[in-house]
C-alpha cells in the first residue's frame, strides 16, 4: 500500500493579498515602491481607556462586524489567487487547502464572548470559546469554496503559513493532489494586540529591522493566498519552492538563541534541501522583527552561514508583523515584486552596517532570476527557512 509516487515540479500559479498596503497584488506592489508608513494608533479601551496600540490595519476595511469582515476578506483573497491561477471549477473542487495563522478566528470568538457578557445574568452565564477548533476557519473555506480535497490548518506562530506552504508543495510534488490553495490569515484581535502590548515589544514608529535605532515591532493585518500546482510547461518562467527547512529551537519559548546557532542551522538545512550553496544565493528576505535580541540572533545566524551577505531586504516596515500570515504575505510580495522588476527597498532603514552588520537594500533595483532565501522565526522556537527560485529547472535533474 505504500507506493512510490512520481515527483512533479510544483510552481506558484496565482496569488492574492489584502494587506495594509492595499487590496490585490498590483495595489500592494505599487505601495511597495513608496516609503514605509507609520502605523495607525488604535484605541483599545477594553482594559484601559487611554491605551493605544500601533497597528497596520487592512487597507479600506473598517474594524466592524468582525466575523463578516473575516469571511469577506478571505473569500475575496482566495478568489484573487484562484482567478490569477485560472483554475477550472473541477480543479477548484479537487484542490486541497493549507491554512496558516496564529489567531485564526479568535476575533470572532472574542466578539461573541463580549456579546454574551453584555447580557450575562445569574441564570445565563457567558461562556468563552464556544465550539473551539483551530480548523474552524479552514472549515468555513471548505464550505465557501466547495473544496472536496483535504484541509490542514497550521498553528506554529510566525512560521504557520510558511510551514503550510512547505507541506502543500510536498503534497503536490508527491502527486497526491494537482493543486493546493495555501492561505495565510492574521486579522486584528484583542488577545494578540494586548498580548504583544504585555510583552512590551511594540513601537509606535516605522519598524526598523537591524537598524541601530530599532525599537520594536508593529502588528499588522494581512490575508494572502497562493495557488500551487504542477508546472504547465507553457514557456513561462514561474517561481517555485526549491527547498526549505523547519526546526525547533528549544532555547526559549519567546526568543531565539542570541548565539544564532539555531537560525544558522535552519538556513543551512534549507540550502542543503534546495541543493544550492550560500554563495549561489541572490537575496535574503529577513524575518526582521526589529526587536533587540531577535534581530541580533538573526544577524549572527546569517553571518555564520554567509561569508559575505548577499543583498538583504525586509517587508515588515511596510506591512507590519503579520504573525502567522507573514510567511505567505511576505513571500507573495517578495516574488511578485521581482516578477514586476524590482527588489523591495527600505530607504533610510538599516542603511549602514550598524551594530548588527546588516545593510538592507536601499533603492529599487532589478533582479531577473535567481535563488532567494526567505526566513521566518516564531514563538515556541519554530524556525523556518524557504528557498524560492525562478530559474528554469528540470525537476528530478538539477533541482531534485
Amino acid at each position: 500500500m505504500n507506493v512510490t509516487r512520481p515527483r512533479h515540479q510544483a510552481v506558484f500559479l496565482g496569488a492574492g493579498i489584502h494587506s495594509s498596503l492595499g487590496n490585490g497584488v498590483e495595489a500592494n506592489l505599487a505601495a511597495l515602491k513608496t516609503a514605509p508608513q507609520a502605523p495607525t494608533l488604535l484605541n483599545n479601551t477594553v482594559t484601559d481607556e487611554a491605551l493605544q496600540i500601533p497597528y497596520k490595519l487592512l487597507f479600506e476595511s473598517p474594524l466592524t462586524e468582525l466575523q463578516h469582515r473575516l469571511y469577506r476578506v478571505i473569500d475575496d483573497v482566495a478568489e484573487q489567487a484562484l482567478s490569477d491561477a485560472g483554475l477550472s471549477e473541477s480543479e477548484r473542487r479537487n484542490m486541497s487547502l493549507y491554512l496558516g495563522s496564529s489567531s485564526f478566528d479568535i476575533g470572532v470568538s472574542e466578539a461573541d464572548y463580549q456579546r454574551q457578557l453584555a447580557g450575562e445574568s445569574e441564570s445565563c452565564k457567558a461562556l468563552a470559546l464556544l465550539d473551539p477548533s483551530m480548523a474552524n476557519l479552514a472549515d468555513y473555506l471548505v464550505g465557501s469554496l466547495g473544496i472536496r480535497g483535504e484541509d490542514v490548518s497550521f498553528n506554529t506562530a510566525c512560521t504557520a503559513s510558511a510551514n503550510a506552504l512547505l507541506t502543500a508543495v510536498a503534497h503536490v510534488e508527491a502527486g497526491l493532489i494537482d493543486h493546493a490553495l495555501v492561505v495565510g490569515v492574521e486579522l486584528y484581535n484583542d488577545v494578540t494586540a494586548l498580548g504583544f502590548y504585555s510583552l512590551d515589544l511594540l513601537t509606535r514608529s516605522v519598524m526598523r529591522p537591524f537598524d541601530s535605532a530599532r525599537d520594536g515591532l508593529v502588528l499588522g493585518e494581512g490575508v494572502s493566498a497562493l495557488v500551487i500546482g504542477r508546472d504547465p510547461n507553457d514557456g513561462r518562467r514561474r517561481f517555485h519552492l526549491r527547498g526549505g527547512a523547519n526546526l525547533c529551537d528549544t532555547y526559549s519559548i519567546t526568543m531565539s538563541n542570541v548565539d544564532g546557532s539555531a537560525i544558522a542551522e535552519v538556513m543551512t538545512r534549507a540550502l542543503a534541501n534546495a541543493g544550492v550553496s550560500a554563495a549561489e544565493l541572490d537575496v535574503i528576505k529577513v524575518h526582521g522583527t526589529a526587536s533587540l535580541a531577535n534581530d541580533e540572533a538573526e544577524s549572527v545566524g546569517m553571518h555564520a552561514v554567509f561569508s559575505s551577505l548577499p543583498r538583504v531586504c525586509a517587508l515588515k516596515p511596510f506591512i507590519g508583523h503579520t504573525l502567522g500570515a507573514c510567511g505567505l504575505n511576505e513571500l507573495i510580495l517578495f516574488y511578485r515584486a521581482i516578477e514586476a522588476g524590482f527588489l523591495i527597498a527600505t530607504p533610510g532603514i538599516s542603511a549602514d552596517a550598524g551594530d548588527l552588520n546588516v545593510v538592507l537594500n536601499q533603492r529599487l533595483s532589478s533582479v531577473e532570476s535567481g535563488c532567494f532565501m526567505l526566513n521566518y522565526f516564531g514563538f515556541g522556537g519554530n524556525n523556518t527557512s524557504l528557498i524560492i527560485s525562478n530559474q528554469v529547472s528540470h525537476y528530478g535533474e538539477d533541482e531534485s
Partner: protein, 288 residues
C-alpha cells in the same frame, strides 16, 4: 516504502467533577517538573513522553487537537474581558498551540521540525497523514505524532462548549505514536500502511473494493459516522468491528485512543474510516 510504529504512548481518563492531578505523572514521564504550564501541555508531555523510547533527537513533532488549548485561551479571554487586564506574557504565549510542541521538544531534547496541525473533523487522521508523507518523501526519518484534548471545568460548561448533551461522559486524552522510516534496530509494533483522503463516498468505496481483505482485518469507524452509515460500511466491507472497550467517554481526538489500543493488541490489520459533514472521507490502515 514502509513507515513503522515503534512506540505508542497514551493517557486516557474519564473526567467527572474533579480533574485528576497530572504534575506527578509529568515528572515521572519526562524526568523533571515543568513549571508554569497548563493542563494541555502537561497532557502532551505525558503522552509524548510515554512514546519517546529511543527517540532520535532529530525526530519531528506533529501535534494535533480537536479543541486546542482551551484552558489557556479561556484564561486569557477572562483576564481581558472579565478582569479588564492585558494577559500576562507567558499566558499569552501559551495560547499559541505550538507552545506544547516547544515543551515536548525541550523536555525530550529534540531539535527537528515541529508543527501543530489540525483539521476540524479529521484531527488525528490529518496529523498522521502529514507525518506519513514527510517520512515517505524522506523529509523526516522519525516523527512523534500526537493528539491531545483536555477538559476545562466546570464539566457542564465543558459539555456546553463542545455542544454535547448533558448525559455524555467526557474524558481527557493524549495519544502518541513514534514513527520511523528505518526500523532496522527497533522492535516494530505495527506499520502505518495508509492515510488516505477521499473526496466523496464513491471514491472511498472504489478504494475499499481494491483493498485486498485479509482474515484478521477489522473495521473501526470515526466519531462523525452515524450508526446508520456505520452499518452500511460494516456490510460493504464485510469486516468485523474493532471493539476494544466499552464505549469510551467523549473527547474529540478519540481516534488516537482507537489506534493506540489496536497497536497494543498487537495482531491483525485495522481499517479505520471517518467522514465530515460535507461527505469527505478519510481512511487509516494500520497493520500489526
Amino acid at each position: 516504502m514502509t513507515t513503522y510504529i515503534v512506540a505508542v504512548g497514551s493517557y486516557y481518563e474519564p473526567v467527572g467533577d474533579e480533574l485528576p492531578p497530572l504534575k506527578k505523572l509529568v515528572q515521572e514521564t519526562v524526568g523533571s517538573n515543568i513549571r508554569r504550564v497548563g493542563r494541555f501541555i502537561q497532557l502532551a508531555l505525558i503522552g509524548g513522553g510515554r512514546a519517546s523510547s529511543q527517540l532520535s533527537n532529530e525526530a519531528a513533532v506533529y501535534l494535533t487537537s480537536g479543541s486546542g488549548d482551551v484552558e489557556a485561551t479561556v484564561g486569557v479571554l477572562n483576564t481581558i474581558y472579565r478582569q479588564a487586564e492585558p494577559p500576562r506574557p507567558l499566558s499569552f504565549i501559551n495560547t499559541v498551540s505550538n507552545a506544547a510542541c516547544f515543551y515536548i521538544a525541550q523536555s525530550l531534547q529534540l531539535n527537528g521540525a515541529s508543527s501543530f496541525v489540525s483539521s476540524r473533523y479529521f484531527t488525528v487522521e490529518t496529523s498522521l497523514r502529514v507525518a506519513l508523507l514527510a517520512l515517505e518523501q524522506g523529509q523526516q526519518k522519525a516523527a512523534l505524532v500526537g493528539a491531545v484534548d483536555s477538559v476545562v471545568l466546570p464539566i457542564e460548561e465543558h459539555r456546553q462548549r463542545l455542544r454535547i448533551n448533558a448525559q455524555t461522559d467526557v474524558a481527557e486524552g493524549s495519544h502518541w505514536f513514534q514513527l520511523v522510516a528505518d526500523a532496522s534496530d527497533r522492535t516494530v509494533l505495527a506499520t502505518l500502511d495508509a492515510v488516505q483522503h477521499f473526496t466523496d463516498r464513491e471514491a472511498l468505496s472504489a478504494w475499499l473494493a481494491e483493498l485486498p481483505v485479509e482474515a484478521d482485518d477489522c473495521l473501526a469507524l470515526g466519531q462523525s459516522i452515524e450508526s446508520d452509515e456505520a452499518d452500511h460500511w460494516l456490510v460493504e466491507t464485510g469486516l468485523p468491528p474493532f471493539n476494544f472497550r466499552e464505549a469510551p467517554a467523549y473527547f474529540k481526538s478519540l481516534a488516537g485512543l482507537v489506534f493506540c489500543e489496536f497497536v497494543r493488541r498487537g495482531a491483525g490489520r485495522l481499517i479505520y474510516l471517518n467522514r465530515d459533514p460535507v461527505g469527505r472521507y478519510m481512511a487509516v490502515v494500520i497493520s500489526c
